[in-house]
Structure formats: structure tokens, C-alpha cells
Symmetry: C2
């Protein structure tokens, strides 16, 4: 089965993160994209997202590994929601799996770009409700 | 704190589901919205979504209760991702909490409409990966 274009973009982003190829990585985001750095702390816009990924790379001793273990795409018009089991590890962190949520929008050229990158999924819901 | 317009729409939808007010409910969706009826089975478009909710109402003995226990909105341009703990019960079903994911798009009049309604969250990821 032909892989969804959104999944191809996510795999490209995963490779770019592992290779610390931030030019390629940032091209996958919309101009006003939002990245959840950790619950309660977000980066907005390409510059802020790039800086966040540079800091994350250093934090994880330049050995961050990212892959997807199970992924589904729900598409409606120019919007797609991705549910993914995102597996992360690093020299200073044992492997963890996050129930990640990503939103992509199709631009005028038909290219899917990430507008909302929340690898923490429901962890961002504050506990004081 | 002023409640996000998207949260107001979700609360309106919850009330409409409980009251079986399907005209109000369907107005909250985009024309090509997708609703996950159950993992692997989706309804696409207002007509199909309305029929799905009518069938769901009957299935739950016209006693479905829906509410949100913790909700967060991530917004980027005209797209918003909602992470919610959605609590559901019915006369023939004990209370369950789903880690729901919803996507809303702002239309040309500035009204937020639901384009992707996946109350099952990561449960839609198939096990054979």
C-alpha cells in the first residue's frame, strides 16, 4: 500500500532529527507552527522551533533516536490528524514511547506541512481540573 | 479566564448529543468532516455523521451522557488540536474516559468547526505493526 504523504513527511522529520539536519527539519513545518517542547512550554514559529530542536539535541548528548511504532492518519480536506506511538531514546535516556499527536496542513502546492507537533499527547492536560 | 471558542463549541456539541439535538450538533462540523464511529469505522460528511449519531443514540438507549474532564487546545493559524479526557456513560454502559483528539478549523467567518472527531485517540492504531 502506498504510504500517506504525511507519513513520508514524518519519517523525513525523524531522520532529520537523528541526523541533526535542522534545515531539512524546519522545512517540514508551517511558518506559524507550534511545537510542544514539554507540557506547558511551547515553541511557535520556525525560528523558535529550530532553536528548540538545537537545544534538545544538545540535551540528549547529540544521540537522540526517534521512530514511529504504529501510526494512523485521519484526513479531512487540507487537514490531517496523526496518532502515533513515537519511540524516543538517547544515550542519557532509556527508550520511551509517547502517544504523540501531530496535525498537518496541505499548502497551496499540495505539500503537507506540520502545523501542530505535540509528541506528549494527553500529557499536556493539566492535572488541576 | 475567557474560554477558548473551540471549547465552547465542544460543550455545545456535548449538550446537543445529550439532548439529541442533531441539527445543532451537525452545524458544528465542517462539510467534509470525519468522525471515528469506532476504531476502523469512520463517517465522512454531515449526512453520514448525523446518521451515525442517530444510530449511536439508539444504541445507548437514548441515555448517552458526554462531558469533558480536562481539556487543552493547541492553536496554529486556522487550525486547532484539542486533547480531551472525554467521559461517556449510558444506561447500558458504565462510565468510561476516552483520551479524545479533535481538530477544528476556523472558517471564513471566524467560526471554529470540527473537521476531525476522534474520541478514541490512539485506540485507532492497529495492533499489527
Amino acid at each position: 500500500m502506498e504510504q500517506h504523504e504525511v507519513i513520508k513527511q514524518i519519517k523525513k522529520a525523524d531522520r532529520a532529527i537523528v541526523e541533526e539536519n535542522f534545515d531539512t527539519l524546519i522545512d517540514i513545518y508551517t511558518d506559524d507552527a507550534i511545537l510542544v517542547i514539554e507540557p506547558g512550554r511551547n515553541a511557535v514559529g520556525k525560528d523558535a522551533i529550530r532553536k528548540a530542536f538545537e537545544a534538545i539535541a544538545v540535551y540528549f548528548k547529540n544521540g537522540l533516536q526517534v521512530s514511529q511504532r504504529g501510526i494512523e492518519v485521519l484526513e479531512s480536506g487540507n487537514t490531517a490528524l496523526v496518532l502515533a506511538n513515537t519511540v524516543i531514546s538517547a544515550p542519557n535516556m532509556p527508550e520511551i514511547t509517547r502517544k504523540a499527536t501531530y496535525v498537518f496542513n496541505k499548502d497551496i502546492n499540495g505539500v503537507w506541512l506540520c502545523s501542530i507537533d505535540n509528541s506528549y499527547g494527553h500529557e499536556i492536560i493539566s492535572k488541576n481540573v
